[in-house]
Amino acid sequence: MALSHLKSSSSGSNFLKPLATAFSLRRPISTSTDPLTVETSVPFTTHRCDPPSRTVETSPQELLSFFRDMATMRRMEIAADSLYKAKLIRGFCHLYDGQEAVAVGMEAAITKKDSIITAYRDHCTFLGRGGTLLEIFSELMGRQGGCSSGKGGSMHFYKKNSGFYGGHGIVGAQVPLGCGLAFAHKYNKDDAVAFALYGDGAANQGQLFEALNISALWDLPVILVCENNHYGMGTAEWRAAKSPSYYKRGDYVPGLKVDGMDAFAVKQACKFAKEHALKSGPIILEMDTYRYHGHSMSDPGSTYRTRDEISGVRQERDPIERIRKLIVAHDLATEKELKDIEKEVRKQVDEAIAQAKESPMPEPSELFTNVYAKGMGVESYGADRKEVRAVLP
């Protein structure tokens, strides 16, 4: 994909002097909030609506935070890969590396009052919503300090106080839930929206279209976001969907196709979608993105696609590289400084892992907690029916 063009903003900032490097000996990394504009890599493709502008307002601070956040997400996912191979994480583990721009771009456009719900590839979305690395690694390793107290696992991360509703294992089941979240927003009149994320595989679930129909009928402020990474586990999109134009599949609902590897395109689209949803009801966003890992840790990811394809996307469309080039081109930081940020991030991740390993495993009594919200005195027994015994609290 082509690099973004650079356009200087009208307020006369000096960041674009091509010879600025001559002055940059010990200049600190810019954290200015002066406006800066970038252009998205490609224009938006639309269905039943007008596209938002390709020009995105941002700032050096935002650019650098994008870089840091995405680097953290990338590092976290790679660390999770190693932990899985070391058998500290078990069961299913679905990694998000390659798709970071969607999580980061979306967060930049919304507030914590808006709700996000997604499927099982949720580590980075959770991080974006304010989760900490410690919570993530503790949960992945099944420890008490995890966001779900070790009882949920990789596919069940939740954070109620910042509007993250999970974390769901069954494909497509989160979309009706997301429409329900939007219903609650409308009911409570709180001017917030719900983003229901799903994949290209889930796009063929019937419950999605049922929920969409109802949402459109009731004008619910829901935004359905299809994270199209082109493969539903081992099945390519053209083999699973008669029409792989997921943004058009809403038919009567408008849609927008977005380059999901460009964090600014994602940000612009989400901002546009939020305005639309609050005014006129549901809208579908299709994020054209890619995952470098296989579907999960038990899938090598190379039996249904070539290694050339994977490395091609990594070279040409990697979201972090795009931001890196933007930062360097706008002279907001040097390459070395960015590398230092990455080193710092790596250290943070390693520290979080070390701390998470210290966290204890859940107590046996935890087996019976939170089955019901309020104790009803229902008795539950250990498998031996005699010794381990509890009244469900």
């Binding site: 294992g169 497509g172 679930q205 019937g206 586990m233 081992g234 099945t235 859940p362 250990g382 498998a383």
Partner: protein, 439 residues
């Protein structure tokens, strides 16, 4: 039209099938000459009468009381081969074309056969599937990633290349729809095998399975049969999380009109797969995520396991332990400890979850008078609960102690490894339960 099938050996296998490549089979069986196997062949007529070959030596036949209204099992013991031959007759009206079929005995007789090969459980499933697809062109497989990907547990690997896209169908992720489509196709006579990538996903298809699969034969007055096989891995795995560790046999067991079987060894996996495909009734075959890599030697020769029959794993005198699927292995592990402590448990793998093989179970209860059920379902409403009720109703007089049922906890399966272990029955708990039961 009474058709008579004859007993063991090459003749039976060839007679069972119409389009099977009998040349392949006969050549093998003639190599293993019939003189090695001095058996008397039982002959079962379609009207239910049994004629034993008078030349048979030391053959005993027992006719059992009809405990189950739609099946009659006849056990014949042949001491020369130390095998138990099971003959099942299905009532005519359910199976107009099928009369008595001779099934392979279920106990481990492999040691006496010369021609065996070793394989893993998922390969055994594939072998059974492939043999049936070769035999009957109406058999097709549909599911997510079963074709080009080879199946998420490799059960269907290689089949798409061999049979093409129309017989091994990669479906989009739409369980409700493709299960319904499978059932619709079955109404016309096709024999689809619907694979749920994980049994838990079939909850999305519950309506289709309950209403259409189970009830259509009844509500249409017998016009339609639904010879569909619904299969997939279920059960608690290694930290797969709550939604991927479900035991659907609890939920499906109430649906009238379906049969449920659970395989536990490569031998019975292949046998049950083949029997399920040949059955005119809808069969749900429960596999287990953790059992796919079990290795065993199975016969080269074709064989089928009886769908309605349980498997005697270890005969004993003191207590009857009823189990199925993965818990069988926990029970056998506990059995080792129990034997060292001086107990003699009788372990039965019930295999048929709906209907229960009350014949074998009843005989065992009459012998030992104590029952322990070890299952992976949750305590409330699981297979164990139903089995407890069934045994109490039928064999109450033979019990010396209340039935003990060890099941999983009534909680969503937690992700943390230690918690997950406590959710499921462990061998130590089985030992304790037997000790308490036998006091």
């Amino acid at each position: 039209m009474a058709t008579i099938f004859q007993g063991l050996g090459g003749g039976a296998a060839a007679a069972l099938t119409n389009s099977f490549d009998s040349k392949k089979l006969l050549s093998r069986s003639t190599r293993r000459s019939l003189s090695e196997r001095k058996v008397s062949f039982p002959v079962v007529r379609s009207d239910g009468s049994v004629n034993l070959n008078p030349g048979g030596s030391n053959a005993r036949a027992r006719r059992v009381d009809q405990l189950i209204t739609n099946a009659v099992a006849v056990n014949l013991l042949f001491s020369s081969l130390k095998q138990r031959l099971i003959v099942l007759q299905l009532p005519l009206h359910r199976n107009p074309g099928m009369f008595a079929s001779i099934y392979r005995p279920t106990c481990t007789c492999n040691a006496t056969l010369d021609l065996v090969h070793e394989l893993l459980l998922f390969e055994a499933l594939r072998e059974g599937l492939e043999e049936e697809m070769d035999r009957d062109p109406h058999v097709c497989v549909m599911g997510e990633d079963v074709g080009h990907y080879g199946g998420s547990y490799k059960v269907t690997r290689g089949l798409a290349e061999k049979y093409g896209d129309l017989r091994v169908l990669d479906t989009p992720i739409a369980e409700n729809s493709f299960t319904g489509m499978g059932i619709g196709a079955a109404m016309t006579g096709l024999r689809p095998i619907v694979e749920g990538m994980n049994m838990g996903f079939l909850l999305l298809a519950f309506n289709q399975i309950s209403n259409n699969c189970g009830m259509l034969h009844y509500t249409s007055g017998g016009q339609f049969t639904i010879p569909v096989v619904i299969r997939g891995p279920g059960g608690v795995g290694r930290q797969l999380g709550a939604e991927h560790s479900q035991r659907l046999e609890s939920y499906f067991q109430s649906i009238p009109g379906i049969q449920m079987v659970a395989c536990s060894t490569p031998y019975n996996a292949k046998g049950l797969m083949k029997a399920a495909i040949r059955s005119e009734n809808p069969v749900i075959l429960f596999e287990h995520v953790l059992l796919y890599n079990l290795k065993e030697r199975i016969p080269d020769e074709e064989y089928i396991c009886n769908l309605e029959e349980a498997e005697m794993v270890r005969p004993g005198e003191h207590v009857t332990i009823l189990t199925y699927s993965r818990m069988r292995y926990h029970v056998m592990q506990a059995a080792k400890t129990l034997v060292n402590k001086g107990y003699d448990p009788e372990v039965i793998d019930i295999r048929s979850l709906k209907p229960f093989d009350l014949h074998m179970i009843g005989n065992s209860v009459k012998k030992t008078h104590r029952v322990l059920i070890v299952e992976e379902c949750m305590r409330t409403g699981g297979i164990g609960a139903s089995l407890t009720a069934a045994i109490t109703e039928n064999f109450h007089d033979y019990l010396d102690a209340p039935i003990v049922c060890l099941s999983s906890q009534d909680v969503p399966t937690p992700y943390a490894g230690t918690l997950e272990e406590w959710t499921v029955v462990q061998p130590a708990q089985i030992v304790t339960a037997v000790e308490q039961l036998c006091q």
